[in-house]
């Protein structure tokens, strides 16, 4: 793996720098990933050669820009194994996509007394929109429990999903514990009771092969910036029939078919959702990121992350006083590890790691209900991606041991 990984690493110019005089070890990939040259060059090439507004104007640049933008829709469809490119709506990210499902589909389909089933693993972006919807329409929220080792409890899911359930909204992979949820099994439960299955795929699409149809998702959302693409672009995939039933949330240019003084006809899906000038370069950058990921192969990326986690997890487990959250079996997780060192706040730990050039996240990871469930206020989180190496893992371990020595063994 080592040599091949070095080749990928060289595609990411940002990684070749020192931070606080130490080589950068970037382990905050669950927050955002770095961008390969292929993506950076594609965005630059678009601005240098083809930039124009899309879907309007008959001139050559406008046509080229439109073509490049629309090609990505088909690319995304193939990437997540959708059925039809009309099902792919570009958004500014997962958060916007999930908000749209809640505020548009939810507000027109969920009624007073209906139930919305979530889990304790959810990121605030797959939780707060549903809370708001529940308050607005008088629906009830329910949370699927976790097993002792932090996996989704399918028995709890089976108990909570009933004929009263209108929506089941679940992350495909947890942004805190890295655990991958059995979406297919939960979708079957949801559909057996006539509920709609909404999946937050932000932490899954970058890391594992995703087939939205096989998963049984009705809506599936993800972000570009967590999978090598620029920030400010994401995808809402939805079944065509459901997207057709969703009223648009933003009104303006490009999303209309005909505007009169008092009435307006909207365009068809997906255009009725994409009001105003879109993040054209971002979408084109997303296309380049998908090309890059597919050239490596998602199976290969999963395997690489598994190897890194299998390598680093036992070393972390061996550190006295280090608690790791979630399943201890590497095969149940993506490249995300959340942990705490007994007696040391994660902010202090993250500052110490930063002094060793190691970038991790510390905080509640936009998952306060999960933090409460775990009985902690915050954790440190190291998240690996395709360009990370065993050497990065070694430097993480060394930095944690340094921090432990500094804070807990009284060397200061």
């Amino acid at each position: 793996m080592g040599k091949k990984m070095n080749n990928w690493r060289a595609d990411f110019p940002i990684l070749a720098q020192k931070v606080n005089d130490e080589p950068l070890v970037y382990l905050d990939n669950a927050a955002t990933t770095q961008k390969p040259l292929a993506v950076l060059q594609t965005v630059r090439d678009f601005y240098e050669n083809d930039n124009a507004n899309i879907h309007r104007g008959v001139h050559t640049l406008a046509q080229r820009a439109t073509e490049r933008y629309e090609q990505v829709r088909q690319k995304v469809t193939d990437f997540i194994h959708g059925n039809d490119w009309h099902e792919v709506v570009f958004t500014k990210g997962t958060t916007e996509a999930l908000n749209w499902v809640a505020a548009s589909y939810g507000a027109t389909h969920v009624k007073a007394g209906d139930e919305i089933v979530l889990s304790y693993l959810e990121h605030h972006s797959n939780l707060v929109p549903w809370q708001q919807l529940a308050k607005k329409v008088g629906a009830k929220l329910k949370y699927i429990e976790l097993t002792a080792d932090g996996q989704l409890d399918l028995q709890s899911a089976a108990d909570l999903i009933t004929d009263r359930t209108a929506i089941v909204a679940l992350c495909h992979a947890s942004n805190v514990m890295g655990v991958v949820n059995p979406i297919q099994a939960v979708s079957q439960l949801a559909h057996a009771h006539g509920a709609v299955m909404v999946v937050d795929g932000a932490q899954a699409v970058p890391h594992l092969p995703v087939d939205v149809q096989e998963l049984g998702a009705d809506f599936y959302a993800f972000s570009g910036h967590k999978m090598l693409a620029p920030t400010g672009v994401g995808v809402l995939w939805g079944k065509l029939a459901l997207l057709n039933e969703m009223p648009p949330l933003e009104f303006g240019g490009e999303m209309i078919a005909n505007v009169g003084l008092y009435e307006t006809d909207f365009k068809e899906v997906p255009y009725k959702f994409e009001g105003g000038t879109q993040n054209i370069a971002g979408v084109i950058g997303l296309g380049a990121a998908i090309d890059y990921l597919q050239a490596i192969g998602l199976e290969q990326i999963t395997k690489h992350e598994q190897e890194l986690i299998s390598y680093v997890l036992p070393q972390l487990q061996a550190i006295d006083g280090l608690e790791i959250y979630g399943p201890q079996d590497p095969s149940l997780r993506t490249g995300i590890l959340s942990f705490n060192l007994t007696g040391l706040h994660p902010h202090d730990l993250a500052s110490a790691l930063d002094m060793d050039g190691v970038a991790v996240r510390a905080g509640h990871h936009c998952a306060q209900p999960l933090m409460n469930y775990l009985g902690v206020s915050a954790t440190a989180r190291a998240s690996f991606y395709l360009y990370n190496t065993k050497e990065d893992a070694d430097l993480l371990i060394k930095a944690i041991l340094d921090a432990k020595e500094f804070f807990l063994n009284g060397s200061c």
Partner: protein, 148 residues
């Protein structure tokens, strides 16, 4: 070793305050009380003050947090005792400038031992940790002004 640089942030005095914090207890019959949350990490800190003759006679805080937020709360509660609300508000503004790396006139006189937290300015990600308790004290006093 790069960690040597950590000594700039975690000075001995700061570590001592964090390990053995002053005034880290609830204050019975407090006149002013405010709970503040650090939105990035979810840490919650409650600051309480008791007034006598227009001055802060006692101050205390409860809650958990990182070394910086705990040490800062410990130092802050030490420093505001004996001060008027107007003086405290001036101290909080001065402290906020201090940890953002700005020059503060007469900083040692204004803030006492808490000037050691000046080092936080080199660690911008930790400024919110340092200012949490101070903001809570400020807002607690402001709130009661509004209610008066």
């Amino acid at each position: 070793m790069a960690l040597a640089r950590l000594n700039n942030l975690y000075r001995q005095v700061i570590m001592d305050h964090a390990k053995h914090p002053h005034n880290n207890h609830p204050l019975p019959q407090a006149d002013h009380e405010l709970e503040l949350r650090n939105p990035t990490c979810g840490d919650v800190l409650t600051v309480q003050m008791k007034m006598q003759d227009g001055k802060i006679a006692a101050a205390g805080y409860t809650g958990t947090g990182c070394t910086i937020s705990q040490a800062s709360a410990s130092m802050m509660t030490d420093q505001i005792i004996g001060k008027t609300p107007a003086e405290v508000e001036k101290m909080v503004l001065g402290f906020s400038d201090l940890v953002m790396g700005k020059e503060v006139p007469d900083q040692a006189k204004l803030l006492g031992d808490a000037v050691i937290l000046q080092s936080v300015a080199q660690f911008p990600a930790r400024i919110k940790c340092a200012t949490l308790a101070w903001k809570a004290a400020y807002q607690a006093l402001e709130e009661s002004e509004r209610n008066d």
